[in-house]
Symmetry: C2
């Protein structure tokens, strides 16, 4: 219980998606074998990942889809609403604010911020844009938990500092740079340029890909 691999958390998200898909298909029962196949990991791995958090199956019978799904949502903290804000209303910030399925994914977009005077006060995708100076007050008033950092690379650290000062708990960092925050704030990088460069590496080094049977 003391320490859980980061990779386990990523896989739990994958298992949850698979369970949601199974539930939508009306499938009531599943097994570590089936989850493993769809997630492209081993069945051992599925069972070990789940074992960090408890016992959710029935020996000999497998797992009940709605039950395991509910448990995974609880483990991941998705059985409660999360309020999010976008920091940086450039192309990417606008595209995200347009994203249609937020509510269905347990997250609620509550505010947008930018420090460009031309957009402050405007409405984008139905959301009013605040100036960065309003951050502390709006975060407090609207109970914002998580910030999407979609500012240019050069502005990322300063914006992150402002988010931390405003009392935000987690940051989804879309900027292609490592940002520095206190330990109690969790940062998840979302970095397609880095992914693109990793693809480049693995294309020119095809031998370095591990097998999967």
């Amino acid at each position: 219980m003391s320490t859980i691999p980061t990779a386990t958390i990523s896989r739990l998200v994958t298992y949850l998606r698979i369970l949601t898909s199974l539930e939508n298909q009306g499938i009531k029962n599943t097994s570590s074998e089936q989850l493993a196949e769809e997630a492209q990991v081993s069945a051992f791995q599925v069972r070990k990942d789940l074992a960090y958090f408890g016992r959710f199956g029935t020996r000999g019978a497998g797992y009940t889809v709605p039950t395991l799904r509910r448990e995974l949502r609880r483990i991941l903290g998705l059985n409660r609403p999360w309020n999010v804000a976008i920091i940086g209303m450039g192309r990417l910030g606008q595209a995200i604010s347009d994203y249609p399925h937020f509510e269905q994914y347990d997250f609620s977009l509550k505010a947008c911020f930018d420090n460009n005077a031309k957009v402050i006060g405007q409405t984008m995708s139905g959301h009013q844009v605040y100036g960065m100076d309003a951050l502390p007050q709006v975060v407090k008033e609207k109970g914002i938990d998580i910030g999407f950092l979609t500012v240019p690379q050069a502005a990322a650290q300063a914006a992150a500092d402002a988010l931390v000062a405003a009392g935000i708990k987690g940051i989804l960092n879309f900027a292609p740079v490592v940002i520095n925050v206190p330990r109690e704030v969790h940062v998840e990088p979302v970095d397609f340029l880095a992914g693109l460069k990793r693809v480049s590496f693995y294309i020119i080094n095809p031998g370095l890909k591990e097998e999967l049977a």
Copy 2:
């Protein structure tokens, strides 16, 4: 040499960015200590990561910024042009096709695809949109290496199959689903919804974050 950790490749991308930033600042020399601090890893880790690929520093003196930068670009395969295509011209695909800095990042957007008859033949952000049936021919003619998969979740596997059949070498998968491809094709997930769910988990489990001093 036989096997290199995936995490090492991700860190190499980070080191390269730091070196580019140092070079832009006119800084000529650096050290594993400095790279480690900016990348938020240990100096041991930096040196070990580099050691997988050779010796790039001078004992007692550190690293020369332009030299190490050039070597990392070579290692990552960024000293050559890569041709990319976007598959799925919805909101996300359009936002990416608008992305202004592609050329500067060693990648060249060569084509856009969609299977919606309403957009096929149109021009988006200066790029003509092809139908999916044109994929094999266009990939071949334009020498496309990498596909950005920006279709809805339900369409992702079929689109990935089409990319593989067309002979693509790598896929940047923006769809929130694990796709299944042959071993010789490398897939990198770029999944902000998964990142968001990991943030949720770490916010409700603050004790599970490892320290860094």
